[in-house]
């Protein structure tokens, strides 16, 4: 008998169960704790095996692209925080870099070093959070407690810098608003010195753990072709045999001056992704040590500028605004009317912790972007579940969602 529908049961619940086969349709989410936010999966099951998966997204859709078209460029910066809210500085940075390329300004070196520090701290925060939630989904409570402890230290450092723990808005178009606080370097160094031992702790708990291996090895294998075709980037792509890291291949900021490796694997399964994440944490630590040296070199060289000098687009330093009439006027115009970038378009990709975070901006010379497209990596990492899940069993769904590292602020935007 067909299901009785009424106004409260929307479109998809109206699937009728009057077929003769054994197929069961399971609604996974949108409130499932392991769905990492608002993911709804329609799973067609034969016994426990998935024959068809249909990810349904949009439960966190806030229309950020529409909002961007109705905001001046600087106004949009805090909104980008709400995309990948686990590592919000990387979103700030992606947007700032795209606008900087559009208006063609060069950021002072000291600001670049601070930005790199923030980016790598955010990468560590994101990877620690990933490990915590994935391990928790699989049942490893201890790892969750350990990684959250370390993440807390990093959040404290960030909080000392910008006052916020999650939504940082710590980067401006043209540089950074503030120099790092006095305790920043010491705190960071203390953290980094402890990090190898911490990572070893996680690995001791997981690497030879039978349950972990059973849930990770040979589960959720993504072939190289599939990863490329689905637009996978970041650790998802690197675990499938493509050693592609935008920091290395198309360097931005000072990534061409620092020494680091790009960990990759050709296995493509959950375990490969786990290993890539762990190794990336070590590489981030390596980069952070080097940025500390670079920062100290900046201090020695007396490079104090934090914002680019470009009167047409970027406000003067505060001391000038307070003392010079013309700087104050220019600041007033830039704040009330907004900067007007040149007519043209850019697509600028950056390597966020999740993958390629790209900002496409089409400017028609007005103070509002004519079109802004956010290329968020998690969008396609969710889409790939359509092709990845069939053939797996229900418990695998949890571990696969875990290792794809999707964040719904970014998927739905």
């Amino acid at each position: 008998m067909a299901q009785v529908t009424n106004r409260l049961t929307p479109f998809f619940e109206n699937i009728t169960f009057d077929r003769d086969d054994n197929e069961l349709i399971l609604n996974f989410g949108p409130q499932h704790p392991s769905a990492h936010g608002q993911l709804r999966l329609m799973l067609h099951l034969q016994q426990e095996q998935i024959v068809k998966a249909h990810p349904d997204i949009g439960y966190l859709h806030r229309g950020m692209e529409k909002m961007a078209e109705n905001m001046i460029y600087n106004e949009f910066m805090p909104t980008t925080d709400r995309m990948d809210y686990i590592a919000s500085s990387s979103n700030n940075y992606g947007f700032a870099l795209a606008v900087e390329k559009l208006i063609d300004v060069e950021v002072p070196r000291r600001a670049k070093v601070i930005r790199m520090m923030l980016l790598e701290i955010n990468r560590l925060m994101s990877h620690l959070f990933w490990l915590a939630t994935t391990a928790l989904d699989i049942g490893a409570m201890t790892v969750f407690l350990f990684t959250f402890r370390e993440r807390e230290y990093l959040m404290d450092i960030i909080e000392g810098y910008c006052g916020a723990r999650l939504t940082h808005a710590a980067i401006r178009i043209g540089g950074v608003p503030l120099d790092i606080q006095d305790s920043f370097i010491d705190q960071l160094r203390t953290f980094l010195n402890k990090l190898p031992a911490n990572i070893k702790d996680y690995e001791d708990l997981l690497d030879t753990n039978r349950i972990w291996l059973m849930r990770m090895e040979e589960v959720g294998t993504i072939s190289k072709e599939m990863a490329l075709s689905w637009g996978c980037t970041g650790p998802m792509l690197r675990a499938s045999g493509v050693a592609w890291d935008i920091r290395k291949e198309e360097p931005y900021e000072l990534y061409d001056e620092v020494e680091f490796n790009v960990p990759w694997s050709d296995k493509g399964d959950n375990f490969a992704r786990y290993r890539v994440y762990m190794e990336e944490m070590r590489e981030s630590a390596k980069i952070l040590y080097q940025t500390i040296d670079m920062y100290e070199q900046c201090v020695i060289n007396g490079e104090t500028e934090l914002m680019a000098h470009s009167p047409r687009y970027i406000s003067a330093p505060k001391i000038d605004i307070m003392t010079q009439n013309y700087s104050l006027m220019q600041h007033f115009v830039l704040v009330t009317q907004g900067m007007r970038p040149p007519v043209g378009e850019v697509y600028i990709p950056t390597e966020s912790p999740k993958g390629e975070l790209g900002f496409y901006i089409n400017s028609q010379g007005g103070p509002y972007p004519y079109r802004l497209k956010l290329r968020a990596p998690s969008f396609w990492h969710t889409g790939i579940l359509t092709d990845l899940l069939p053939g797996h069993y229900i418990p695998d769904v949890v571990s696969i969602i875990g290792t794809t590292n999707i964040v719904f602020g970014e998927v739905d935007r």
């Binding site: 109705n70 075709s229 697509y347 990709p349 790209g358 010379g365 007005g366 359509t386």
Partner: protein, 268 residues
């Protein structure tokens, strides 16, 4: 003469633009200035018509015909090593000349190059799906359909992706207001209770700073607290405030209103 502004464009607009303001341009370079791009363009030109091509911010932009898109992307994937479709979407130019501009952001990892393929379609015209070539187009084309109403021919599941399936209107069109249209404002009410319930339920309160001083359900008024749901009137007596428990705290005296002075004069 005043500059023409389309009436149905409801996007935010600058409240002041200098009459003689001329926008600078992001510089464009000749394709010949980059050997890799020049070779790629020559390969595309050999088989397909290229309307315009230039390099902007280190990426090549190529304008082609709308019905060549599948062929061009196939050529780029199979012969030119552009193995990833990073992104694709549309730009609304309906107010200007009734067209949409579609762009495909391509990436070649071997060459470390990015190319943007673009073309224009008229309003109501469909595009060819490239889902067969790049699976990433599956969701991108659905998003484009959702946001602009542009149908991709040959797509296996051309349904909305971010908005609800029964949504009306395409949010990223310039004619769609930021706060939503009438359908959006009454969506939940219409769906759950029916249109006839609109008058009973009333419009959604969107002012986040709004405080109704007669509302005892959601707000407590300091000094005039009443039990939840009580009808508040204007002439209510002030509730007595107690600032300390009776037992008292060491070294701190109980606050006595009678013996304390409340200073009214701000100039004291």
């Amino acid at each position: 003469m005043r500059a023409y502004t389309p009436k149905d464009d409801v996007q935010a607009k600058s409240y002041y633009t200098d009459r003689y303001y001329v926008s600078p341009q992001v510089p464009k370079q000749e394709v010949e200035s980059d050997a890799v791009f020049a070779a790629d363009l020559a390969t595309i030109k050999a088989k397909f018509e290229v309307k315009e091509a230039y390099i902007q911010v280190k990426q090549m932009v190529v304008y082609i015909n709308a019905n060549d898109i599948y062929g061009v992307l196939e050529l780029m994937r199979d012969e030119l090593e552009y193995t990833q479709l990073s992104e694709m979407s549309a730009i609304d130019w309906l107010a200007k000349d009734n067209t949409f501009e579609i762009f495909y952001q391509m990436l070649s990892m071997n060459k470390r190059k990015r190319i943007r393929i673009k073309y224009f379609i008229n309003k109501g015209q469909a595009v060819d799906s490239v889902n067969e070539l790049f699976r990433s187009a599956d969701w991108s084309e659905r998003e484009m359909f959702d946001m602009f109403g542009i149908v991709a021919n040959g797509h296996p599941f051309m349904k909305r992706i971010l908005m609800p399936y029964d949504w009306q209107g395409n949010p990223l069109l310039k004619t769609y207001p930021l706060e939503g249209d009438e359908f959006a404002a009454w969506y939940e009410v219409d769906k759950i209770y029916g249109k006839e319930a609109r008058a009973t339920i009333g419009p959604e309160i969107r002012d986040t700073a709004r405080v109704d001083r007669y509302d005892s359900e959601r707000f407590a008024r300091l000094g005039y607290e009443v039990p939840k749901g009580t009808k508040i009137t204007d002439d209510m007596e002030k509730t007595e405030q107690s600032y300390q428990e009776d037992g008292g705290v060491f070294l701190i005296k109980k606050f006595d209103k009678a013996s304390s002075v409340i200073v009214d004069d701000p100039q004291r």
